[in-house]
């Protein structure tokens, strides 16, 4: 397809299907994330990048034969490799023998949180998640350095947009409330900081799309966002450092409260809040950076 716009639309559909697949394979949290990210934020980002570049692809003069050979060889090698894999859903597969049973056993007694994914994410593998949060934070900073924060165009008033105004206003409130629900319900059901941050940012993006970005920038100025993102990382690392100063290991939440289990609860809450804050402000920062930039017209 020459038209990159159509490619992006079809990629959005692919994301819907991928989320359905995750849901069918019991990965509720992953389906949540894929649905929050794939259909909304990815499409918005790709379209904003398309607005700043060219929409139509040039006719390629390349010879695709070599690429086809390389891809076919790689694919054949990989398919040969998968022959030794355990079948889908095999309970005795090597993956299920090592750490996963320990996580499943220890979560009720040590963490006391029903959602094992949240327990592993925030407590057992807290270092990992801290690293990922820092990666997201630095990605936001890099986009800001590359594109600048930009400034909003004056939004021209259109009188026949009234229906959207009326519909979108409660919808934004609903999205924000839903994001908070996902954030704080993450200990008990599907959800958590990563999903909540993206959904919260989607609410702000929806508001700027319909009411104009200058209004959103009045509510939350762009210069605050890097600081908010940094604050999120700081909250995460600070929670770790707190137990460090209390004589425990870094990111060991047992020291946060009197009993280990309530300490874990508090620690997971704080850490997830840090993750949510960082993800929200980074996604919104990236959106501001792309939509605040003027398109350069080349001859």
């Amino acid at each position: 397809m020459r038209d990159l716009f159509a490619v992006i639309m079809l990629f959005g559909i692919f994301s819907f299907i991928a989320a359905l697949l995750f849901l069918d394979m019991d990965a509720v949290d992953v389906a949540f994330t894929e649905a929050a990210v794939g259909a909304g934020v990815t499409t918005v980002l790709m379209l904003s990048a398309l607005r700043l570049t060219q929409r139509y692809e040039n006719v390629s003069h390349r010879h695709a034969g070599m690429a086809l050979v390389v891809v076919t060889l790689t694919g054949a090698a990989l398919i040969y490799g998968t022959l030794d894999f355990p079948s889908l859903g095999d309970p005795n597969a090597p993956v299920h023998e090592h750490v996963a049973p320990e996580y499943l056993q220890q979560t009720p007694e040590k963490i006391g949180v029903p959602n094992v994914v949240t327990a592993v994410l925030a407590s057992f593998r807290g270092y990992d998640t801290l690293g990922e949060t820092v990666v997201i934070f630095s990605a936001g900073i890099v986009v800001m350095l590359l594109l600048g924060l930009g400034r909003a165009e004056d939004f021209e008033q259109q009188e026949d947009i009234l229906i959207l105004w009326v519909v979108v206003k409660p919808m934004v409130a609903l999205i924000l409330v839903f994001a908070l629900y996902v954030q704080f319900h993450g200990d008990f059901g599907a959800g958590g900081g990563f999903q909540a941050g993206v959904i919260f940012a989607s609410g702000f993006i929806l508001y700027s799309l319909v009411y104009g970005e200058n209004h959103t920038r009045k509510v939350l100025p762009a210069r605050w966002l890097p600081r908010l993102a940094a604050l999120g990382v700081l909250l995460y690392a600070g929670t770790g450092m707190f137990s460090f100063f209390k004589g425990q290991v870094f990111l060991d939440y047992n020291a946060l409260a009197d009993s280990p289990v309530s300490g874990q609860h508090l620690g997971i809450l704080l850490v997830e809040a840090g993750v949510g804050l960082t993800v929200f402000s980074t996604v919104l920062l990236i959106f501001y950076a792309f939509s605040g930039r003027r398109a350069v017209v080349h001859e």
């Binding site: 716009f5 959005g12 819907f16 929050a36 909304g40 607005r51 919808m171 929806l206």
Partner: protein, 88 residues
């Protein structure tokens, strides 16, 4: 009956996907993507109920909200009048 509803939804999704592929205008594609999103929400609701998926309603709710945001974003792309994007 629930199986019939799921089958109808799957067939509809295939039809909508065909429309998304053949176009011919961009508006057809946007319409198809939006319809596909709605059908996914319905499939999650009906299929999730039939198969007893965990917390399927939450995911369906979020799908509905995010689909709304995504489709509106695509439309804003066409409202910013840029001469380079005027072709269909």
């Amino acid at each position: 009956m629930i199986v019939a509803a799921i089958l109808a939804l799957l067939v509809t999704m295939a039809l909508v996907l065909t429309r998304a592929f053949i176009g011919p205008t961009v508006y057809d594609r946007i319409l198809a993507v939006n319809a596909f999103g709605t059908k996914s929400v319905l499939l999650i609701t009906v299929g999730g109920h039939a198969m007893g998926w965990y917390s399927y309603v939450d995911i369906a709710l979020m799908y509905a909200l995010i689909n709304f945001v995504g489709t509106l974003a695509v439309m804003r792309f066409f409202e910013t009048h840029d001469p380079r994007h005027d072709e269909l």
